[in-house]
């Protein structure tokens, strides 16, 4: 018996003596062989002696001693044949023999079909398991190499997010601690997917880590990593990658780009693109990379991404695009840019979305003020209700007051307590504008409103740190009316009376006044 297509192997024939019909080894019948078509319409056993057909299969069958071929047909498909040699009695096959063989073939064919299907299914399952196993390995490599913990340098908030595609892509990000309060950061994407991409990612990551220790220049680091990678990378693969160094003291960011998405910086409510270009790593030897320097000011945030977010498609086939990424970053709350970006992204792609590519996001944000960094990094979980900066111009204390008031709507302040808070905020803001910043409109007053459990805190930061604590003369109405004290000097007095706690912080550069009030009734 010969089974065609996926199973051409023939079971061992039992020895001839006990069997009236000798079984011959199978001969494959190619689909284009005329004998294939002949068997399909033969309607029963075919006597090779009577056959006049130019066919390689027939020649081979004859050579193997076959005299009768019984096709196994199921639903118009030739599944195989029963090939028989001459009868042991040397008599030709009788019409009874042929009927018996036909009947046998009609029963065998569906069984063979079922057996074929089972074998196919098994092969598919094996293949799927193999792919899944490969994906597990790739995902494992990727997850092992992504940072377990994000760095949290004082005064900085660093967040990262990675969402693997259905078929694991080659995204990665990394942070590299460097000397002198500097922090290296990497976001990259390996073309291709699966285990090969994961291995290239691992190589790139360690190359960059090593190169970053050898040079302070991000451009040189990328050139160095490219030189190594170009020798090792499989043909047709390459890596896009952005590498930068953040000076956590000054806020300076120095970076170079090997064909990766450009970073965004949100500055004064505007989202700008930091432009640096260069060839992806691993394509060509001897590449050089331009360096770009930017300074992140307090309250500013830089967002790095992979193309998985930009190039994702919505249900109508439209791309999310750079414009949407930019707009979404522009509208995000200061301390949760990534969360906001992901919300916008998920809304865009819809619930039925199957991730086409990895999505990687990294945000690096400089805290708005010294007190904020203390609060963010040392204290209990804090939810930020508002954060903004206002130029030091007369009258802006009322802007600050109204913005703070708007941010605490729903925070559970009875109207009288809200009025007290507003007065305290306005007074503190006025001090910051007039004294801390000396009325210089180029200097901002930073404002941050935090809900800390049952307490609400407003932190107002100016640039008057390091000048010593302002002398506070306790205002005395009698003395003022008698001309012994100036009529002024009510600011700090009022603030202290209005809020539950007033704290001041000074880091040598910034002066922060922290107003704390319990929410709800006193």
């Amino acid at each position: 018996m010969a089974l065609l297509k996926r199973n051409r192997r023939v079971p061992e024939a039992p020895s001839g003596e006990a069997n009236p019909m000798r079984v011959h080894p199978g001969v494959p019948i190619a689909a284009h062989d005329p004998f294939h078509a002949y068997l399909l319409q033969a309607g029963g056993p075919v006597d090779l002696a009577k056959l006049d057909l130019e066919s390689d299969a027939v020649t081979a069958l004859r050579a193997a001693g076959t005299v009768l071929v019984v096709p196994l047909i199921n639903q118009g498909e030739l599944l195989g044949t029963l090939s028989l040699g001459p009868r042991l009695s040397d008599q030709p096959y009788s019409s009874d023999d042929r009927r018996l063989l036909s009947s046998l073939a009609s029963q065998v064919a569906p069984a063979v079909k079922v057996a074929n299907l089972v074998k196919e299914r098994e092969a598919e399952t094996k293949q799927r398991e193999r792919i899944e196993q490969e994906l597990r390995v790739a995902a494992l490599i990727q997850q092992t190499l992504l940072p377990k913990q994000l760095p949290s340098p004082p005064g900085w908030q660093i967040d990262a997010y990675y969402r693997p595609a259905r078929v694991v892509g080659g995204d990665f990000y990394d942070f590299i601690p460097l000397s002198g309060g500097r922090l290296g950061f990497v976001v990259g994407d390996v073309t291709d997917k699966g285990v090969p991409a994961a291995l290239v990612m691992a190589t790139t990551r360690s190359n960059l880590r090593a190169a970053a220790q050898r040079s302070d220049s991000p451009g040189a680091v990328l050139a160095d990593a490219n030189g190594i990678l170009v020798e090792e990378i499989p043909l047709g693969m390459f890596v896009t990658c952005l590498f930068g160094v953040l000076d956590t003291g000054s806020g300076e960011v120095r970076f170079a780009n090997a064909g990766h998405n450009l970073p965004y910086v949100r500055r004064n409510g505007e989202v700008i693109e930091l432009r640096a270009t260069g060839m992806p790593l691993g394509l060509m030897p001897g590449m050089t990379y331009d360096e770009v320097v930017a300074v992140l000011q307090p309250g500013e945030v830089m967002v790095l991404s992979s193309d998985g977010i930009v190039e994702a498609h919505g249900p109508d086939g439209e791309m999310f695009g750079f414009g949407a990424v930019r707009r979404t970053i522009g509208l995000a709350p200061d301390t949760d840019v990534i969360g906001h970006l992901l919300e916008g992204f998920d809304r865009f792609v819809g619930p039925a979305h199957e991730a086409e590519d990895d999505v990687t996001l990294v945000s690096i944000r400089r805290a708005a003020g010294a007190a904020e960094s203390a609060a963010v990094f040392a204290n209990a979980p804090v939810s930020v209700l508002a954060e903004f900066a206002v130029p030091s111009e007369e009258g802006n204390e009322r802007t600050i007051m109204e913005m703070v008031a708007a941010s605490v709507v729903g925070a559970g302040f009875p109207p009288d307590r809200l009025e007290r808070l507003k007065t305290a905020v306005a007074e503190a803001a006025m001090n910051a504008i007039e004294h801390g910043n000396g009325g210089d409109p180029l200097l901002d007053v930073g404002v941050r409103v935090e809900a800390r459990g049952e307490e609400l805190a407003v932190l107002i930061t100016d640039h008057g740190g390091g000048t010593g604590v302002m002398p506070v003369e306790v205002p005395d109405m009698e003395a003022k009316l008698a001309g012994e004290q100036k009529p002024r000097g009510w600011g700090l007095f009022l603030i202290e009376k209005m809020v539950d706690t007033m704290l001041t912080h000074d880091d040598g550069t910034h002066h922060v006044i922290e107003l704390v009030m319990r929410r709800g009734e006193k």
Binding site: E394, M477, L481, A482, K486, L494
Partner: protein, 112 residues
């Protein structure tokens, strides 16, 4: 409303200084002129009408303190009316209310 406005009118023996807007540093010349007119108006009490004052900051408090000091040297009594609960509290905290009569409305202020 931005800015500050103040005018003085006479009600019986009382000079009423009607103020509106923001009582802060920028209000100083306007308030000084209106208060000067009130001082020259006679010898009766001077009543500050805060009904339309939206905002008073510590500088505004200082302006009121300055006016109060001048009034005392001229032997004039100062009254205030139309203050919100919040600013009444601030007048209490600063002890301004110990040196001027705080009234609910103009009728009460003029009647003394």
């Amino acid at each position: 409303m931005e800015g500050f406005a103040a005018t003085t009118r006479i009600e019986g023996s009382t000079a009423v200084v009607d103020m509106s807007g923001l009582l802060d540093r920028a209000a100083e010349p306007v308030l000084a002129a209106a208060f000067g007119a009130a001082l020259e108006s006679g010898s009766g009490p001077i009543a500050f009408n805060f009904t339309d004052v939206e905002y008073i900051n510590s500088t505004g408090i200082a302006l009121v303190v300055g006016a109060l000091a001048k009034a005392r040297t001229s032997g004039r009594s100062i009254r205030a009316f139309g203050l919100t609960d919040h600013y009444r509290e601030i007048f209490t905290i600063t002890r301004l209310s110990d040196f001027m009569g705080i009234f609910e409305d103009e009728t009460a202020a003029v009647a003394g």
